[in-house]
């Protein structure tokens, strides 16, 4: 329980840390807003990815299952929201109906996909999920004929924002004398959601279920002999991860007002997985760091590299978009080479890696 003890201490930092963190979280949207609403949107995406990455962390970090198609559940959530709250079908259900529905549907897909594959070896799961991710995207792309369900590659537009009574998250408004832009409102909503998923992650880790996930990761045969129904327990992790993906998808659709299959490519799955692995699998602060870095860094590059090139060479030499992928790849290789347990790993993972190195 030494490990557990340390973990729970991290959960109840001294008040100073909590205050500081709250202050930073409160200030971010206003500081970012000084540079334009685009920066607030970037902050929003960073938090959305924190949410997604922590959802995937349950699957990959806790249960040790390699899921390469996580974005499929994100897509299910996003399209559920888009179809039930847009002029496309003329249906406009409130968000508190659709978000849980999207989570439920994503969960159902998770169970349908996981049940037959989770008793196979880990590598099969990776392949099957990878395939599933692509299937979902291709379906979204082609379900516009003979009956137009998803509107194909054009995607669905004019999706309703999240609205509570008269309070719409897409328009700017004044609360307690402070004027908030649409993106700033979403920021606070996303922070609340992210805190929620953090609590879920922390509490699961130190529970009967969390222990069985760890036991399965350590030695599946021994875990079975201890009476753990490993398939069900893995399925639980998989379905939970999927549900969080579904919720994130719904919020994404509402925030963007637009979804198309393009947003749910394999690259997206890999990016989210990279956030988990790069930050430190199974370690909540690490995963958060990974998500923030991998969302923020490319944007900083995009805005930083162009002026830099002009200043140094007088013209553009490398297109920032391609440089982005290059830096992204390089960062991954370097981290894996020099910090294989991630940038901010748990003591747990460090120990596991030390063992394989012996």
């Amino acid at each position: 329980m030494k490990g557990q003890f340390r973990r729970s201490v991290a959960g109840q930092r001294p008040w100073l840390g909590v205050l500081l963190l709250t202050a930073v979280l409160l200030l971010v949207p206003f500081v970012a807003g000084l540079g334009g609403q685009a920066w607030v949107r970037i902050a929003n995406f960073a938090i959305l990815y924190v949410f997604l990455a922590l959802g995937l962390n349950i699957v990959v970090g806790y249960a040790g299952l390699l899921d390469l198609g996580y974005v499929a559940f994100y897509a299910v959530g996003a399209y559920t929201y888009a179809l039930l709250a847009s002029p496309h079908f003329g249906i406009h259900l409130p968000f508190w109906v659709i978000l849980p529905l999207g989570a439920g549907l994503a969960c159902m897909f998770g169970v349908l996909l996981g049940a037959p594959t989770l008793k196979l070896r880990g590598d099969y799961l990776a392949i099957v999920t990878l395939g599933f991710g692509e299937i979902v995207r291709i379906f979204m792309n082609n379900l516009n004929a003979p009956v137009n369900i998803t509107n194909g590659a054009q995607g669905i537009t004019l999706i309703d924002p999240i609205r509570i009574g008269d309070f719409s998250f897409s328009q700017s408004g004044t609360i307690f004398g402070i004027t908030l832009s649409g993106p700033q409102k979403y920021y606070f909503l996303l922070v609340v959601l992210a805190l929620l998923v953090i609590v879920v992650n922390v509490r699961l880790q130190n529970s009967r279920i969390g222990r069985s996930w760890q036991a399965i990761r350590e030695d599946e045969v021994a875990a079975k002999a201890c009476g753990i129904n490993t398939r069900n327990i893995k399925l639980l992790a998989f379905a939970m991860g999927a549900s969080f993906g579904g919720i994130a998808g719904g919020v994404f659709a509402a925030m963007q007002g637009f979804v198309s299959p393009e947003s749910f490519s394999l690259m997206e799955s890999i990016t989210i997985l990279s956030m988990v692995v790069l930050g430190g699998m199974g370690h909540i602060p690490g995963v958060i760091l990974g998500a923030v870095l991998l969302t923020g860094l490319p944007e900083v590059l995009r805005y930083g590299i162009e002026p830099l090139q002009r200043a140094v060479f007088g013209r553009m030499i490398v297109d920032p978009e391609s440089l982005r992928m290059l830096v992204f790849g390089l960062a991954l290789v370097l981290v894996m080479r020099f910090r294989p347990a991630g940038l901010w790993p748990s003591s747990q993972r460090l120990r596991e890696l030390a063992e394989t190195a012996d």
Binding site: M1, S207, A215, D219, G227, I228
Partner: protein, 258 residues
């Protein structure tokens, strides 16, 4: 002496790996409350018998009856659920978990808390968690390694790891505890302590099935002993008789010098 009821019956259990007949129609019965020994030269099929019993392997023919009910041993967790716990010949602990966490995993089967309980941390879940911890502490005391409760399992000494595995198995509240060579690699003092522990376990009402190469230990502990050779049960009797059986002497002398 009144005969105790049967706890385990193996009926003509057979298992082969390709051409290797690891078990050939093995039948045996174990009574409640006894310590039953299983010996035999290397490769005789002892571990395979455990693996079939606990659902890790599927036997080609034959079946087990446990506590009067036929075992559908198609999954190890079901065997554990009906009350068969085991240890492994080549120790299988959760190395990066602490000793007490290992035992707490053993409580999984007899506890209920699910995802909702874990997330809400309601009173029932907290009470259950406290009970799990308490029981795990008791079991560590019971096997005598409570000072090591917060050490990682992989950092324990060999003998302590064997004890921890026993504690984890006991946490599942078994009726039958199957030990696969628990004294392997132990020195004389450790083996003696193990003997005392196993006797205690039996006295506390758990039937023990013991695979062991240490003849002295088996003869001292077990009420009855079965001898396997090339997948067959060649002999089954009280230790004194088994020791003098010509087939057993032949099996041990003819086989490798174990």
């Amino acid at each position: 002496m009144s005969e105790q009821p049967l706890l385990l019956e193996a009926h003509e259990v057979a298992k082969h790996f390709g051409g290797v007949k690891a078990l050939q129609d093995v039948s045996l019965t174990i009574r409640r409350g006894e310590i039953y020994g299983l010996i035999g030269p290397n490769g005789a099929g002892k571990t395979t018998f455990f693996n079939c019993l606990t659902g890790l392997y599927k036997n080609e023919s034959g079946h087990f009856v446990f506590d009067g009910v036929r075992l559908e041993a198609d999954a190890p967790h079901k065997a554990a659920a009906v009350g068969i716990a085991r240890t492994f010949q080549n120790i299988r602990l959760f190395g990066n978990m602490t000793a007490i966490e290992n035992v707490m995993v053993g409580r999984h089967l007899r506890t209920r808390a699910g995802v909702l309980g874990a997330i809400t941390r309601n009173a029932a879940t907290r009470a259950e968690e406290a009970a799990i911890t308490r029981r795990a502490e008791e079991l560590l005391h019971y096997v005598g390694i409570h000072e090591r409760a917060h050490d990682y399992a992989k950092h324990l000494s060999y003998g302590d790891q064997r004890r921890l595995e026993i504690a984890r198995a006991l946490a599942t509240e078994p009726k039958l505890l199957a030990l696969d060579e628990p004294a392997a690699g132990m020195n004389g003092t450790e083996t003696e302590a193990l003997r005392v522990l196993v006797e205690g376990i039996c006295r506390d009402g758990v039937t023990v099935l013991l695979i062991e190469h240490d003849v002295k230990l088996v003869m001292g502990l077990c009420r009855r002993v079965a001898v396997f050779d090339y997948g067959e049960k060649i002999c089954e009797d009280v230790p004194a008789v088994v020791q003098k059986d010509p087939r057993v002497i032949e099996a041990y002398l003819g086989g490798s010098v174990a």
